[in-house]
Symmetry: C2
Subunit: 423 residues, 2 copies
Amino acid sequence: MKTLPFADETILSWVETHPTPFHVYDEAAIVVNARRLKAAFAWNKGFHEYFAVKAAPNPHLMALLKKEGFGSDCSSLPELLLAEAVGNTGENIMFTSNDTPQEEFAKARELGAIINLDDITHLDFLEKSTGSLPELLCCRCNPGPLKGGNAIIGKPEEAKYGFTREQLFEAYARMKAKGVKRFGLHTMEASHELSAQYIIDTAKLLFDLVAEISEKIGITFDFVNIGGGIGIPYRPEQDAMDLEAVGKGIEEAYKEKILARGLPELKLYMECGRCITGPYGYLVAKVRHIKDTYRLYAGLDACMANLMRPALYGAYHHITAIGQKGDLAKDRTTRKVYDVTGSLCENNDKFAIQRELPELKPADTVVIHDAGAHGHAMGFNYNGKLRSAEYLLKPDGSLVQIRRAETIADYFATLSYPGLKEG
Amino acid sequence: MKTLPFADETILSWVETHPTPFHVYDEAAIVVNARRLKAAFAWNKGFHEYFAVKAAPNPHLMALLKKEGFGSDCSSLPELLLAEAVGNTGENIMFTSNDTPQEEFAKARELGAIINLDDITHLDFLEKSTGSLPELLCCRCNPGPLKGGNAIIGKPEEAKYGFTREQLFEAYARMKAKGVKRFGLHTMEASHELSAQYIIDTAKLLFDLVAEISEKIGITFDFVNIGGGIGIPYRPEQDAMDLEAVGKGIEEAYKEKILARGLPELKLYMECGRCITGPYGYLVAKVRHIKDTYRLYAGLDACMANLMRPALYGAYHHITAIGQKGDLAKDRTTRKVYDVTGSLCENNDKFAIQRELPELKPADTVVIHDAGAHGHAMGFNYNGKLRSAEYLLKPDGSLVQIRRAETIADYFATLSYPGLKEG
């Protein structure tokens, strides 16, 4: 069952004064959810979540999560700057990048971020780029054929990320020899995974590796970062990941594989993005046109530029029809089957294909669910489309703009063409 | 066989002074190709190509094509403004949009653009939005089950575009009754099609429709717009569309289906994008890292933000390894198989999968072919990636910047966060 954190009348008053489409994030729900994640892992004294900035790179959301104690998982220079902008520095940043340029390692060092190396050659590259190695370093493990694949991220051995098992041993030995004092181990081999067991198995794999590397190389690990990849129930019939079961399962594995082996306490880190903001962000749009040809189409004022997942992955996003003042969609008796489209000249610019909804009319407001992660973040300007504004719904019911909509001036910002018109 | 319009030494001198990645377009080749298209259709006195702006929305490229007599095919307000910026107005603009907002129809009317209606309801919507109907109007035909699908654009009857056959008759009758004087008929039901016959069949279908509608409704058509959709040979073993054969085939159909029926002369319009600039644009990048895990990876400084087609469609783009000063890749005796990747935290951010290339080294320059259409245009800022600069290679060998690279300030332009750092 999909619900909305606002009444129909509330959203209808918003769209009167705020041009659609726009994204709105539910602060109260994000906070509740953040606390739930922390509670599920409270057994681990060092537990730390680094919010995957790429999912929703908005400093206001990052600041909100920082108040809940979350750090920033960054993958590029602009994302490091976003973290810095909200005051996340030092070990509140995990810099997990791949194919990393020199200047990004330099900025990560300047901020004191935890650097998570993606490749064994980056050890030398980092040292050369920044003149030294930091006291704390982490390596990204690619379990390869040891671990079955996840449907979205693919088979680990075909993934570009991380070290092979053999390279990990070599790398930690070299790091130790080079004077690195503290160590982390990371993996991220799921995307949008809904099985608790898959996440627990990932933690087990890392705990075993920690034990083996600790023993063979003679080092002590500060933390393991089990990555993110926790999915969300896009479809009404799906269940959310049981975070408490994940916490419990990992706790048991931790006792068995770390404590029972007499290994020192280990901090558990995560870098979730989707499950932190995804379900709590909504794309609000209006119906522009109803079209009846070989199918029935509801054309929205939103398009792929606002939410690309349906077009890109064929992903399901639930849609709630609100209707309009004095004519709420839920009161309409007729239901019809629509392709809900955007205005891009790409036939895959559809938010839903053959979806049954209450009968829709032009000027109706609709809400697209689960747009809070990898939504606005993936927007492009193809077809001259402009990216929309983002708002935060505060616990007191007020709406605060946290990103302005793009303007035509933004679209033209990188262009200069004096005299072109005259030929 | 894929060739480059510049010598290895030339491009190696460019990358010394121009930060990679960047796109470069070959002016001379674009002009030759534009003239070839015009020559193939010279039999039609009114032939007019409207360059599909969405393919490469750069005013400098549009101005170059304008000199060759090409108009602009626009799908949105920013694209109309680009056309206006290069002095393309009036019937030099074809406004082919779908799910169109009021303000875009208004701007199209203001510019005197040819309006191509996507839906029968837009007739009233246009009249209401702009106070009147223009003298000239065009309708987009969706042939539905009459025409087999194209692999990329899908089956026409599942496509959101255009009028059904029945709606066309109704629409032209209503337009005539409302005083519209001149008429056009459009379809676009292919994307990246390499068969000449498919394009010829499309023209035949439109010619037959023109004859039937002219007779039944008692109107005369000014033009048919057969759309674009002409593919390009992304793979070295593929052949380019035989434009001359297309021209000849359509000429024969025109004689048979228009002239032999005693119908008045008809202007033939096209709205090609991909085949106009696609093969003549190159994405120039450097190898950042070579990584050897379960596969061999060559990580570039370019990523999906610069060219999304391989990740989005699994599309093939040919890659030529240039190498570096004093060590040209073509002189290297060893060849290896690489996944050529970008730095996005998306495993599908790969320009090539298991591609054999001369052995690559960090700092090597590589050129990705056929990036001149739907390349830069589709770029996004996901993962904090910035879109690159565009250059025009002039016939005299000079390199002119036609779009600056995005900066971090551009990335932050829609954000405002005073005091956020202090929490």
